[in-house]
């Protein structure tokens, strides 16, 4: 095993990402007017947990920042400060910076202080709690550094040294003499899970921290400790029953266990008179203490039995007896009883019941998943080969072999789908990143923008998510910078001064549809046209439809912003976006209503690994046409076919005309044919509504094929998306219908010049 510290560290950063995500979620609900204490607690807890972990790894910058942020959130939580929209914007900013710091810490980069300082000052000014900061700053690292000390494992079981500490605790405790007159405090049942030790926590320190609150009675439950020969040194067997006598409110007690949240079963109840009495009679305490000391000198596993009562605790007495919770599953955050919501410390207890609670998950190395995906791909190919040989063997279709194979096919598909699901991730993380882009870019251009997201749980292949980040960032910036008008113009146009950018994601007929729309001024087509002429992209005389003009935005070197801003307008733009979307097998379209806004729609394949295709033959070659591109297939009759111009034909289909393309000729496999009457054509539909009829020699089959990239081994081929392996082991090329159509010559008549034929 490699360095355990490094592993823990790595998992800390993964957790941080999750925490940052829930932080964002919480802030978004706060932004939407949710003042529920649960929400605030989620935010608080996220910050707090990051701080805690960071402290354990000695990431001082992160701790300091998180601490200030946490302090501010604490003010909010305590109801002393009610955040307005400015404050929430600032919180967002803090959350972004916190994310930066986390990543910087992960990558061992130092972020200069001057990036965080202004935000922090702002925060302090806003919340007005600078005093707290100083005071608590001391406290935090203290607790955290304790965590750090024993990341090695389970010292109290595996090694003697920590245990030799134990008696110190007891003696310390015994010094604080029990005061019979102090019945107020808490009864705590604390049962650490193995994971508590595994993550480097040490119960001893928790007990010491409790002792600092007031007198402490510790009873260790050793019933679970097995005999030495059955003892698993990596397991924790001890649990403690603690009684702390303190005047501190429950929050403080709760805070002691903050860092072992979810790693132990924890039950804290205020002491009732009855539960208090028996233990706090002095004599018994003393006796117990004696036994403890003896116990400790025994073998390491032997549980120290400590009882030490503590003085005072008047405050919480007024508190009504809260309901008592029994064993809480370790993954859940400990539930603590409390009198009022406001007093709730960092109450994660509530979050467990919210619907956003993540389900149990496993973290798997992506490489392993990819290997599985590849293997399943091979399985699909093999299955196709098998089907083919069964068919060739001439077995009757209802023979057991054929029916068995049918089931096998079904299973293969199911397996494939499930494996693909493993790679799928909700698009949420991407949307959240975009939230930050909106905030930052709107601030830098002085516009008020709100991002709405819909369908953020739509699942998309991980690779797609990763590769979408850049194009989406660009489009969001464009929407903020170019799409939305300035607040003054908006008001003049009778809109709210706060602009709105909406991102939606949804599954639609086997593809993912992502839309980014703004409620801005829409595309100024006259201006676009002018600009395009100016840049020699089009000529003055060209007749362009609205959508043609919109598509000009995707031309390389096009930018309409009159002034070049910080954000966009350097002419590196939508063409790059378009090509990166295309490289994912996606399409991008634009639609705009003057004065109402602009919408970009991105349509992406669900997975990058398999597709349903139609196997066709043309010019002696076998090709696969993606099924989702085919609207229908038909056989041409004389009536359907109309000549248009010297070299091209159109096909008349139900009153519409569609250009006829000879697939063989377009790919250079053969010259255009003499006649296309009687030919089979595939009617190809595209996202933009354009259609084309592709003439092929024959349709062979319809099947699922595994996509094998060509770009890695050879390079991009125009009109070809990828390759696949057919049942007979031959490679067939997968057509990229949109690319093919856009590059098509449309020649379907022989002319004098022969068409060159490819290799």
């Amino acid at each position: 095993m490699s360095d355990p510290m490094a592993e823990i560290r790595a998992s800390f950063f993964i957790e941080c990402e999750e925490l940052l995500e829930s932080l964002q979620d919480g802030l978004i609900s706060m932004e939407n007017g949710d003042t529920d204490s649960e929400t605030i607690n989620v935010v608080f807890r996220a910050v707090h947990s990051i701080k805690g972990g960071a402290g354990a790894f000695g990431l001082d910058d992160l701790v300091k920042f998180a601490h200030r942020f946490e302090t501010a959130m604490d003010e909010v939580r305590a109801g002393r400060f009610t955040p307005d929209s400015d404050a929430i914007r600032l919180f967002f900013c803090c959350a972004d910076l916190l994310g930066d710091l986390v990543r910087a810490a992960r990558d061992d980069i130092t972020i200069p202080h001057n990036t965080t300082a202004p935000v922090l000052n702002e925060l302090d000014r806003l919340v007005g709690c600078e005093d707290d900061v100083e005071e608590e700053l001391d406290f935090t690292p203290a607790i955290l550094s304790l965590d750090m000390g024993d990341t090695q494992g389970l010292p109290d079981i595996t090694g003697l040294p920590p245990l030799s500490d134990a008696p110190i605790l007891e003696t310390d405790v015994s010094v604080t003499a029990p005061l019979p007159s102090a019945p107020k405090g808490f009864s705590i049942h604390f049962k650490p899970e193995t994971s508590l030790y595994a993550s480097g926590n040490e119960p001893l320190y928790l007990l010491r921290a409790l002792r600092d609150l007031g007198d402490l009675v510790v009873t260790c439950n050793t019933q679970r400790v097995p005999t030495l020969n059955t003892l698993d040194p990596d397991d924790g067997y001890l649990s403690w029953h603690l009684k702390v006598l303190t005047e501190e409110p429950i929050e403080v007690v709760r805070e002691v266990f903050e860092f072992v949240d979810g790693l132990c079963a924890l039950d804290i109840t205020p002491l009732s008179a009855s539960s208090y009495d028996p233990i706090f009679s002095d004599s018994t305490d003393q006796v117990d203490l004696q036994t403890t000391l003896i116990d400790v000198s025994e073998p390491p596993v032997a549980p120290p039995q400590i009882e030490a009562p503590v003085e005072n605790a008047a405050q919480e007495a007024v508190q009504p007896e809260p309901p008592q919770k029994d064993d809480i599953p370790p993954t859940e955050t400990p539930e603590i009883t409390q009198d009022t919501q406001k007093k709730q410390p960092s109450a994660p207890a509530k979050t467990t019941s919210t619907p956003t609670q993540p389900r149990a998950t496993v973290r798997v190395d992506l490489e392993r998943v990819d290997r599985l995906v590849n293997l399943v791909g091979e399985l699909v190919i093999n299955q196709a080969m098998l089907s083919q040989s069964v068919a060739e063997a001439g077995l009757p279709p209802n023979s057991p072999v054929s029916t068995g194979l049918e089931e096998f096919l079904q299973l293969t598909r199911d397996i494939q789908e499930s494996v693909m699901m493993i790679r799928a991730q909700p698009i949420k993380s991407l949307f959240q990143r975009m939230g930050r882009i909106v905030r930052e870019s709107s601030a830098s251009v002085g516009k008020q923008v709100r991002l709405h997201t819909l369908g953020e749980n739509t699942e998309v292949d991980k690779t797609v998510i990763e590769r979408l980040a850049d194009p989406l960032t660009h489009m969001i910036r464009n929407a903020v910078d170019h799409g939305l008008e300035s607040p003054e113009k908006r008001e003049a146009a009778g809109k709210t001064c706060e602009g709105s950018v909406t991102m939606t994601a949804q599954h639609r007929s086997g593809r993912i549809l992502i839309e980014i729309s703004d409620d801005g001024a829409g595309i100024n087509r006259a201006r676009v046209r002018e600009k395009a002429i100016e840049k020699n992209l089009i000529t003055e005389e060209m007749q362009l439809s609205d959508s043609d003009i919109d598509s000009l935005l995707f031309m390389p070197g096009f930018s309409t912003a009159s002034e070049i801003s910080n954000l966009s307008g350097r002419g590196v733009g939508m063409d790059v976006v378009k090509s990166s979307i295309q490289s994912l097998g996606g399409r991008i379209t634009i639609s705009s209503v003057e004065g109402k806004g602009t919408t970009f729609s991105i349509s992406l394949p669900l997975t990058l690994a398999v597709l349903d295709g139609m196997v066709v033959r043309v010019g002696g070659e076998t090709l696969v046409v993606p099924l989702n591109a085919i609207l229908e297939t038909l056989t041409l009759t004389d009536d359907d076919l109309k000549a248009l111009g010297p070299e091209t034909h159109v096909v008349q289909i139900r009153g519409g005309f569609v250009p006829l393309l000879d697939l063989g000729a377009e790919l250079g496999y053969r010259s255009p044919q003499d006649s296309y009457v009687g030919r089979t054509v595939l009617l190809i539909g595209q996202e933009d509504g354009n259609r084309a009829a592709l003439a092929v020699d024959a349709i062979e089959d319809q099947r699922q094929v595994v996509i094998k990239g060509l770009e890695g081994s050879y390079g991009r081929v125009p009109g070809i998306a990828a390759a696949t392996i057919l049942g007979d082991g031959q490679i067939a090329l997968i057509l990229d219908p949109t690319d093919l159509v856009s590059q098509a010559t449309g020649k379907t008549k022989k002319r004098n010049a022969p068409v060159p034929i490819a290799g």
């Binding site: 791909g377 091979e378 190919i381 070659e621 076998t622 377009e666 790919l667 250079g668 496999y669 094998k708 990239g709 060509l710 890695g712 081994s713 050879y714 390079g715 991009r716 081929v717 125009p718 009109g719 070809i720 390759a723 392996i725 082991g729 031959q730 490679i731 067939a732 090329l733 690319d739 590059q743 490819a758 290799g759």
Partner: protein
């Protein structure tokens, strides 16, 4: 290349020699992954003439280069009897279609000669060194130059 380097085996290079278009060529044996019989290649549209197409090599797509066409040599050999040498170059893999594989040779490094500069010869740029074995001239192929140009076909 001085005599100081003459440390026998340590500095010798093992080459796989083969015949293509009536000439003897060779490649560093460490870049050869396997040798296999010819298979029907799926031709690629818009590909240069020397790219024969792609074949299925146990589940991966392998581009095939017709080496004689690539080197501008005479073709017209019976393609059924051709041999494909699968070579690795960095992260790329390609199949070189040759007439026949001849031998494995160990050539001391100092016996490598730089090819003379002859501007007229198209295949010259594909040869990184020359050597003589049993009176035959062996050309050492510059694999990088032979590989299909990547991304060139992008529209």
């Amino acid at each position: 290349m001085t005599n100081n380097e003459k440390l026998a085996d340590a500095s010798s290079i093992e080459l796989l020699s083969f015949r293509v278009g009536g000439q003897d060529y060779s490649v560093d044996i460490m870049s050869v992954r396997e040798i296999r019989g010819s298979a029907k290649a799926t031709s690629l549209p818009h590909a240069p003439s020397f790219v024969k197409g792609v074949i299925n090599l146990r589940g991966t797509v392998l581009p095939i280069i017709d080496l004689s066409a690539r080197l501008g040599l005479e073709t017209g050999q019976d393609t059924e009897r051709n041999v494909i040498i699968v070579v690795d170059l960095e992260s790329r893999t390609a199949g070189l279609m040759v007439d026949a594989v001849s031998d494995i040779l160990a050539i001391p490094a100092e016996e490598m000669q730089t090819p003379p500069d002859l501007a007229a010869d198209e295949s010259r740029t594909f040869v990184s060194a020359l050597t003589i074995v049993d009176g035959r001239m062996i050309r050492i192929l510059d694999l990088e130059a032979v590989m299909p140009p990547q991304g060139e076909e992008a529209a």
